[in-house]
């Protein structure tokens, strides 16, 4: 005879230590077993899309910073590319290089938070602080160039807000050399820790076809073992010039597509980002970074959908221009928004503690989910 237990509805969030912001999850649980997860969004809804309609094209850039606030450069990048595509602007070589280096630095910084908070959710608070220490290095490199630590407003339509700081190249190289050993330390401290593996391997398995059907992207998709990276498959900017690999989940510790794979993909991606930075940082050509910025940003009538590989996945900007100085419609295809949808599928039949691990491995940023 099966033991009948009463269902309990557990309300996790919006104020909860590990929902990564103000996400509210309604868990239907049976003992500790979760039957159903219903995410409720909108607690951080700041009307980005409505705001953008009232702004001029260049004024939207600071708003894009606030989408995925852990990877603001990527957001600027995507938006700038979309409008540039709409207007047919060719940006100078120097700008392209600086953009790529910045975006990759930002990717590392963002992954550091993702990995750290995934570990912290599972209980390892120390790696979290180590990773934040490393993130500080990146933030201060970027701060020196553009003056802000989080919300940069750095990549403008057609150019950059500032040229790089004279120390930038030296400090970036220093960081690359500093950071390589710390990845090894992180691996020893957390990735290959037996308890961490137990908590993440074979948990929240996401098969490839489900992942694609749900539109998952970024490390969430690559963790399922498919080599799909927009930097290689739909190259934008100058990513096709660099030699880098696309790490995918291989099921090293359990099944392909489990939490550990998604976690590991992020670490390996940081190594690849370092490779890109190393290749790019020596070859920055000379030039003026603001020469291609149009005096008056007034794109022709048209529609554009431009996507970039943000740390969390495919960030797409769908912009309709009606030929005025204000965009007619800006829709953001936020990677976290789409990835979060998978949560309901992954969490069925897991324990409450696994929900945390799965949510951490999907790595959402609520600023982006709710926009």
């Amino acid at each position: 005879m099966a033991l009948k237990t009463e269902h309990m509805v557990l309300n996790m969030g919006p104020q909860h230590p590990s929902t990564h912001g103000v996400l509210r999850l309604e868990l239907e649980i049976e003992g500790e077993l979760v039957n159903k997860v219903t995410p409720h969004l909108g607690y951080l809804h700041r009307c980005f899309e409505k705001h953008a309609e009232a702004m001029q094209y260049n004024q939207v850039v600071p708003y894009t910073d606030r989408l995925d606030y852990l990877a603001s450069i990527g957001n600027n990048f995507g938006y700038a590319l979309a409008v540039e595509k709409l207007m047919g602007i060719q940006v100078p070589e120097r700008v392209e290089y600086i953009r790529v280096i910045m975006a990759e630095l930002q990717r590392i910084a963002s992954h550091l938070v993702a990995i750290g908070s995934n570990g912290a959710d599972i209980g390892a608070l120390t790696p979290f602080l180590y990773l934040f220490r490393d993130r500080e290095h990146i933030l201060s490199i970027i701060e020196e160039t553009c003056g802000a630590r989080m919300l940069y407003n750095y990549i403008w339509i057609g150019g950059l807000s500032h040229d790089i700081h004279p120390d930038f190249v030296r400090k970036t190289k220093e960081f690359v050399n500093y950071f390589k050993p710390t990845i090894v330390e992180l691996d020893n401290l957390l990735s290959f820790n037996k308890i961490f593996i137990e908590r993440t391997a074979n948990i929240g398995i996401l098969p490839v076809d489900t992942a694609i059907n749900f539109g998952a992207s970024g490390p969430t998709l690559r963790g399922s073992g498919i080599k799909f990276d927009l930097r290689r498959d739909d190259p934008y900017s100058i990513y096709d010039r660099f030699d880098f690999e696309i790490p995918v989940g291989k099921g090293l510790m359990g099944t392909v597509g489990d939490c550990w794979d998604r976690y590991n993909v992020r670490i390996r991606e940081m190594e690849q980002s370092l490779r890109i930075i190393e290749q790019a940082v020596d070859n920055i050509p000379e030039g003026d970074v603001q020469s291609a910025i149009p005096k008056r940003i007034k794109p022709p009538k048209g529609t554009v959908y431009k996507r970039v590989e943000n740390p969390r996945g495919e960030l797409g900007y769908f912009i309709i221009s009606d030929g005025t100085v204000n965009p007619f419609r800006v829709k953001v295809r936020a990677p976290s928004f789409v990835n979060l949808e998978v949560l309901g599928e992954l969490c069925k039949g897991n324990l409450v503690a696994d929900i945390i691990a799965i949510l951490g491995s999907i790595d959402i940023v609520l600023g982006e989910v709710d926009r």
């Binding site: 260049n58 004024q59 220490r133 003056g147 802000a148 919300l151 700081h165 290959f192």
Partner: protein
């Protein structure tokens, strides 16, 4: 069975590896600083509180229009003939009395978009970042150098001036009419 012992071994071994790493860190010096006593040197491009050098401001309103959050409020009064407002440091002649130049730092998003269009480089970001207040109204910084009386005086002057001008115009127009009338 093999897996069983392997698990046991891995469990103990990886824990010891982790402990070794944290033990090493026990003796590394702290990377944090004691904030109010020790402060980091901020880079020169630091984007924090805005400052407006009113001596140079020509009241062109470009910063206000560039602001995505509308936190800059500028009100200007045209100068009347005979008033000398001086020139800015890069040689531009001022033509407007800036009677109001308020920046609401509660709204400011520190995007620096207002700094670039300024023709005289009079608005810029400083490295002052500690300016918290208990009252939100205190975050509205008033940069205009004119006192209220002066401002109202200027306004009055301008109104008088325009009124005079208008009157003159009206007179001239009337004269013209008068002149034109007989012709037609």
């Amino acid at each position: 069975m093999n897996q069983y012992f392997k698990n046991t071994w891995l469990g103990i071994y990886t824990v010891l590896v982790g402990m070794k790493i944290t033990f090493k860190h026990l003796f590394t010096p702290a990377v944090t600083i004691q904030y109010p006593e020790v402060k980091l040197k901020l880079p020169e491009r630091e984007r924090n509180r805005l400052y407006v050098n009113m001596d140079d401001c020509i009241g062109c309103d470009q910063c206000s229009r560039a602001c995505p959050v509308n936190c800059i409020e500028i009100e200007t009064v045209k100068s009347i003939t005979g008033e000398d407002l001086g020139t800015t440091s890069n040689g531009k002649k001022k033509a407007l009395w800036v009677t109001k130049f308020n920046i609401d730092f509660a709204k400011c998003c520190y995007c620096q978009l207002c700094v670039f269009p300024c023709p005289t480089d009079c608005i810029y970001m400083t490295d002052v970042f500690e300016f918290s207040e208990y009252d939100r109204n205190n975050l509205v910084y008033k940069f205009a150098t004119l006192t209220e009386e002066e401002a109202s005086e200027k306004k009055l002057n301008f109104e008088k001036f325009t009124a005079e001008k208008e009157a003159q115009k009206a007179e001239a127009a009337a004269k013209q009419k008068d002149e034109q009338k007989p012709a037609s």
